[in-house]
Structure formats: C-alpha cells, structure tokens
Symmetry: C2
Subunit: 342 residues, 2 copies
Amino acid sequence: MKKVKVAINGYGVIGKRVADAVALQDDMELAGVCDIITDWRIKIAVQREYPVFAFNDDFRKQMENAGIKVQGTLSDLIQKADIIVDCTPKKIAAKNIEKYKEANLKFIVQGGEKHETTGHSFSAENNYETALGRESTRVVSCNTTSIVRTLTALKNAGLLKKARGTLLRRATDPWESHLNGIMNTLVPEKEIPSHQGPDAQTVDPDLDVITAAVKVPETLSHLHYWNVQLTREAGKEEVLDAFRTSTRVALINYSDGLSANNAIKELMLALNRPYGDMYEVALWEDMLKVQGDELFYAYVVDNQAIVIPETIDAIRAMTEIEKDSENSIRKTNKSLGLRQKF
Amino acid sequence: MKKVKVAINGYGVIGKRVADAVALQDDMELAGVCDIITDWRIKIAVQREYPVFAFNDDFRKQMENAGIKVQGTLSDLIQKADIIVDCTPKKIAAKNIEKYKEANLKFIVQGGEKHETTGHSFSAENNYETALGRESTRVVSCNTTSIVRTLTALKNAGLLKKARGTLLRRATDPWESHLNGIMNTLVPEKEIPSHQGPDAQTVDPDLDVITAAVKVPETLSHLHYWNVQLTREAGKEEVLDAFRTSTRVALINYSDGLSANNAIKELMLALNRPYGDMYEVALWEDMLKVQGDELFYAYVVDNQAIVIPETIDAIRAMTEIEKDSENSIRKTNKSLGLRQKF
C-alpha cells in the first residue's frame, strides 16, 4: 500500500506531537517538518531524524548557521507531500493557505483558525464521513473537541436536549509558562456565551450548547463542568453507557485517587505517554450525577494532546486511505494507546 | 439607647473583621474578643484597644507571658455580653455552644457549622424577620450568602425557576497561603451537587438551586458562574433591575477594567476598604446574558468579607434593637460603605 506523505508546518506544541503520531502510523510517512526556529526545539526534530525544512531562504540560512541540517524550504516540502498539517500560531495559517491552494495540496488547519477558512470543521466520532476526499478541513480546538466528543455520545443515545458548560481554561501551556501566564487570579472571558459553544456547532449544528469560560492560574489541563438537560429521566448507568460508546472518553474515579488535574497528569506520565499526554477526555464516573432529567458531570481535557488523534483521522478521511471512520479511529487509538478507562 | 454588648470568640479571619464592624455601630459595644493566640494577630486587638480575653486560664498565662494584657477568660466575657459571635475554626464552635447555652447567652455561629446547631440559618435580605428575638442563628458561609442574595433578588422579581451554578473556590485565605494551598492544579469537590446548593435551602427552602464546586490555585476570592432557568422570557434590563433591588449586589463592568479577581481586589484597596474587603457580590453587568428564558452571569465573592454585614444584621435581629430588616441593612451598609455599583 502506498503511504500518504504528510508534511507539517510549524513544529510547536501541536506540530511536534502530530509529527510523532504520524511517524507511528503504518499508512503514513512524515514528509518533513517546517519551522523558523533555531534552538533546542527544532534540534529535537533533527535527533528524531525527521526531515527539517525552513519557512523560506532567510530562515534556512539562520537554521544552517545554527548547525541544523535543512532539506529545503516550505516550497520544497509542499512538492513532496500529499497533505500538509498547518500547526503555525493562530492567524498565521491564513497566509500559508494560499501557498497550499496554489500547489493543489490538501491541508488541515487548527482550531484557532476560523471555520470559514476551510468550510469544514472536523471531529472524528461525529463527522469523519463528511471529510472524505475534502481538500481542506479544520480540526477544532481542544475544548471544542471535548465538547463534541461527549455531547455526540449523549446525542447518539437520544439523551441530549441541551447542554450548558462552564470551562476552566489553563492559563498557558506548561513549557510557555515563563513567557506568559497568570498568577493568583481568575480571568473570565469577556463574553457569555464564550466561543466554544458556537464552535461545537460548526461540527454539528444540532448540538444545543452554551458555554462560559474563565482562565485559571494553572498550566496542566482544562476542567469542564456540565449541566445537561436530558430528553427524559434517565439512570446513571444509562448515561455512563452512552459515554462508553465514545472510544475517546475515558472514565476515571475520584475514589481511585484521581482527585485533581495534577494527579491525572502524573498518571499519564506513569503510563509512559509521550510528554505525559492524555488524548482522551477524562470524565469522573463517581462524580457524575443524574437528578431526574438533569445530568451533571465534570471532566479534564489535555489541551496539548486531545487533538492529535483527531488530526490523524482527518488525514485518513481527506486522503481516503480509510473510508470507514471506525476503522480509522480504531487504528489511531491503537497506535497512540488510548483507553476507555483509567 | 442602651447599646448591645457583643462578644467575639475567635479573633481570626472573620472574628477580627466582625470586631472592627461592631466597633463601627452606634447601637453596639464590643464587650471583648477571646482567643488562644499570643502573636502579632492578637496584639492588633490590643492596639485597637479591644478588651482581650483568653479561652481559659492556661491560655491566659501564655498570653500574659507574651505581654498581652488580658481582661479575663471566656467565662468572664460571657458574663459581660448580651450576645456572642463564635468565629472559632470549623467544628470547634459546637463545644463552645454548651457554655453559651448554660449562661443563657444568645449566640451566632458561622457557616462552617451545621444548620442543626441552631435550627436557623441567616441571610439578611432573605429572612431577617425570622431571626427576631431568637436565641441563636447561623450566618451562612460566603458562597451560600452570595447565592441567597442573588437568587432572592431574582425570586422577588418573580423570575427564578431554577438555578445551576459552578463555583470556583479560592484555595485558601491570603494570609494562610504559606500554611496550606494548592499550586498549578484544580481540585474538584468529590460530590456533585456540592453542599452550597442545599445550604442555600436552609435559608430559603423555595430556592431550586444545584451547585458544583472546584478549588482553584488563587487566594483572592471566589468566582461563580450561573445558568438560571427563568419563569419566562425576560429582557436584560429587567434582570439587572432585579439584581439592583439587592443593596448588597454591586454591578461591575468588564469594560471598566474590572476584568479579573485581582483587578477587583485592587479597586477595594483603592477605596480604602479595611484589608481591601468587599462586602458586596460583584456581578458583571456587561457580561450578563439573557437568551430567551435562560440567564447567564458571573460574579466575584470576597470570602473573608461578605458575611460581615450579615453578622451585624443578625446581631440586631436577635437582640431586637431593630425589628425592621431594611432599617438594619441600611444602617449596616452605611457604616461599612457598601455600594450598589463600582
């Protein structure tokens, strides 16, 4: 079978993880990673023997002066690839897109870009099929991914009427907390509803979801609290069974010592996950409460990791190397070691 | 007019604030404060010329050895007072209560104690009248006080059907953050619903309220997010008018630079409030959103300060020096400088 050649533009928080995940797939080949940096971060790519490309000739010189072996520029990488995943910082991707389009190269952007950029927003368990053969898509953000995963499970079980969520957002990514962050305060988003609710509707317009969000002084992961109006009265076990239909929602228990975000992070490190990544939504089984036709629950989202399996599936859908969503999801889950229970 | 003699047992986070507030009232006299500590904290009481008492003879010796002038023990203070406010740490008050009862002394406990301890839970704008002449009451906790204040306003306007809240709780009090605290994590409460919803119902059983709570790594104040099902569709101005009927809910605006808990704290310090205390619930006017018959809003609660005016009113109700709640609330608000808008 011919392997799909995947290029990655931007070797940052998401890009480096996508590269590692692509390298694990037996139906994909990493065509190369492109960046502008010259420090330890890109040297990791060199050590992993990933082909490294520079954004343009100027950056190529800088990178070569720093002793980094460069295979070419973004233009060269574009020629070598079947698809490119743009992992550049928010708002920068929009400029790169013109280049991809000129070269008739399929591309994926991140959740930070607007839905209109591609006209399609992706979440594997919800709408894999609609991405088949597409020229472009947008893998929605970490928070939105978690919302779509969990609510899709409730929707498929016929239980979802409407969902109202409060999102506690980590202030910044761990390795960037010396650059920006917040301390000893809470910073609410200016607007209620926050953007994540409407964003989930770009994947699935049927979801009746409203969110409010607040930045909190920690770097590990997000924490969501949900209040869901069910279509009818239901039992706790029935709701848990609905969540169990998602292969990317893992049930956890407070009584098992998983009583805080840092405990969950430590478990991921103990499981030898790269960077201690958690690809799953970790949802508290014992905390979950059903009262009549109302459902309450909380879960943790690893904002650096949750979109990685989604991105791998988006590559398969767009290139049609796998037309069945379940097959792709199973393959991705196995390669990354996802679990449905911790 | 004879002044009511108020004793305070426990000169900690709440006790020292109640003492200062009592000293400001023209119808009250501070009979004394009682504690067991010998360090700078109780020396502040001495400097303010508050009569200082020791919990018992042993502590009296220790305090006198530390150079603190002690007027007697708790037993002596009990004899001098018309009412005592117990501000000792959680669970300790229960043991003190026997002494108050033996002496036929009216007493107030804090929200950390159980409702059953007194059989009455107090929040001035909701149930002042039911506390008139009582032998004891419990001033509900900071979070519960904020819930009762805001929901009472909506209830009185005929707008409240049910309220669902997510509470972000400061990890510990500012001056104790070197003793205990949390860092770079989030710690959900084990149970949903959390205790604050049922606790609000000890004041007003009519409130249909469910809460979930999580500890966050900051020390300044709590932040609540609410989703309220209204009895009918309503306009934003109508909802704001309902909140304006509470003299202890102050509207704030994000657009005015009050965009985070620390900004609000700094404003309180700039207003020369003692300790930078905020007695009001600070509710974001511009963030508040009404969608059909659903209402969304967020507010900040100063957990060290919000119960102080409530305690002053509880003293007036129980001693019947003022039988009208509005008169007491107005008097308290004026003495502490409460505002309805920042």
